[in-house]
Amino acid sequence: MSFLARLRKFPFWAWFWFLLGALYFILPLYATVAFSLSWDPADPFKAYERSFGDSRFWRSFLLSNGLALATIFASIILVVPTAYWIRLKLPQARRIVEFLTLMPFVVPAIILVFGMIRIYSTPFTIPFTDIVLMRPLTNFSLGTNILIVAGYMVLSMPYMYRSVDTGLRTVDIRTLTEAAQSLGASWFTIVTRIILPNIRTAMLSGALLTFAIVVGEVVLASFLGVPAFGPYLFLLGQHRAYEPAALSFVSFLLTWVAMGLIQLVSGGHGQVAGSH
């Protein structure tokens, strides 16, 4: 092929758009890293040392990780048996359940937390009486932790449910269930010993996506008054310059690890989420 012919074949515009996109991706990250390293020329990692040396960082970061784990655990307990049951016995419930799992796209986090606060900041009473069954959930820390985990379960529901349901589709659950039943297995054994191991890849990608949503989440945490990593980073940004840049880059890396692992386990079928 002559040089000119090859030149004409060269996808100039494709390269142009690709490079523009790459710049848009990379420049903010580069700027963040460069800024976080520029505090003290003698000690470029000062911002990172300071950030990681702050016990409040670790407390909020560990809390966020704990909340993420609790959310993932509770989501799996709720979603796997439901999705399994619907595939096996209740296909007529599929539409309504799928509709409910997609509702978080229509009810953004700020609206969800607004409604939750309105409902759960009043004490539970027996209807039509003044007998109090329970204090308002927003008034004590176990209560707010329950609320925030439930809220995170709602926000991650579209991804978790879809991952698990896609995973179940590739498994012949009917045959497996019948085989297990004829060997005398209980429903609990079937779900935990047969179904769960068969969909672990799907569950893992749902779990990682949930992790990515929860660890940096700021709306639910700040309105429910939970001292998680998101609100901590926000407050740090109000009166510090270099540490927030360092931690922003760290949380980018965390998202990157979670997404990279999803790509790895699911073979390239990444999904999309976000707590914008």
Partner: protein
């Protein structure tokens, strides 16, 4: 045998007991999704002392502060949906049918997955480091090109600045939706068109675009909803000084800034209505696309 039949045709003999299996899920959905939403709905139709009113809904359309915040949210969502949609489409095009090497596609898709999830506070801080007053690009433009963008009227903490920030999670989302759609364009269509004497422009205008258009429009509607519901990014960037609907609702939760609780609920309901309309539009258009792109 009787059991096997029951397993195979659940529709014929569904006893109420089978429904018990989904009770936990529905209970959860009612407690933490439906009840909070309906509480906002009923509260938006009631006066502080609990009687029915349409005043709050009416004020959504008359109160200038609220009308302006809806206008601003709609504008920023529309601008970033169009811009992000256009740019995202071109990027998806470049790695699918545009003739770039295959590995670049994997890189772009993975990066898009990360970027569409990278939002909120860290994203805002990253852009402050990039385009803030002391930002990296701001400094380059000033020192190398002798161009002070802030003197020229640019401001990261304004409409334009926030749009640039939103673009960071908008166009990757478009890439993620459009890349599979572009893959669905069959090679045979192009060959058939070329055999019949069509050139590239004709192929794109008369064959590829009509097939892709519902998908492109649908995705842009999805991007619209994506930006419309965003709160954390805008709040972290501007500290609440930009009058988006979400920011107003946030301020209303913190303290009754509208001096009328009912109005806050009505704003939330108005927002859910807009989100519902855009998601419905997306799924209708998506269904239309699936006829061709399987």
């Amino acid at each position: 045998m009787a059991q096997a039949t029951a397993l195979n045709s659940p529709r014929s003999t569904t006893s109420w007991k089978v429904w018990l299996g989904v009770v936990p899920f529905f209970l959860f959905a009612i407690l933490f999704l439906l009840l909070p939403s309906f509480r906002l709905l009923t509260a938006s139709f009631s006066t502080p002392d609990g009687s029915f009113t349409l005043d709050n809904i009416r004020q959504l359309f008359t109160e200038p502060l609220i009308v302006n915040s809806y206008k601003m949210s709609i504008q920023i969502s529309a601008v970033t949906a169009l811009g992000g949609g256009f740019f995202g489409f071109l990027l998806a095009y470049s790695v699918t049918v545009g003739g770039l090497p295959k590995p670049l596609r994997t890189v772009l898709i993975t990066f898009s997955g990360v970027a569409s999830n990278f939002a909120g506070v860290p994203l805002a801080f990253a852009f402050v480091a990039t385009l803030g007053r002391q930002g990296f690009i701001t400094a380059i433009l000033k020192n190398v090109f002798n161009m002070d963008v802030y003197d020229a009227g640019f401001n990261l903490y304004s409409f334009v600045g926030l749009s640039l920030v939103y673009m960071y999670f908008q166009f990757p989302l478009m890439v993620l939706i459009m890349a599979p759609a572009l893959d669905g364009l069959k090679k045979e269509w192009r060959e058939a068109a070329e055999n019949l004497g069509a050139n590239t422009t004709q192929y794109w205008l008369r064959i590829a675009m009509p097939v892709l258009l519902p998908s492109i429009l649908g995705s842009m509607i999805l991007l619209f909803g994506n930006a419309f519901g965003a709160y954390a990014t805008a709040y972290a960037l501007t500290g609440g000084r930009i009058g988006l609907v979400t920011i107003q609702i946030g301020a209303q939760i913190r303290g009754d800034v509208l001096y009328n609780p009912g109005l806050g609920y009505a704003m939330a309901v108005g927002m859910v209505v807009i989100m519902a309309v855009s998601l419905t539009g997306y799924s209708l258009l998506q269904a239309k696309t699936e006829r061709w792109l399987k």
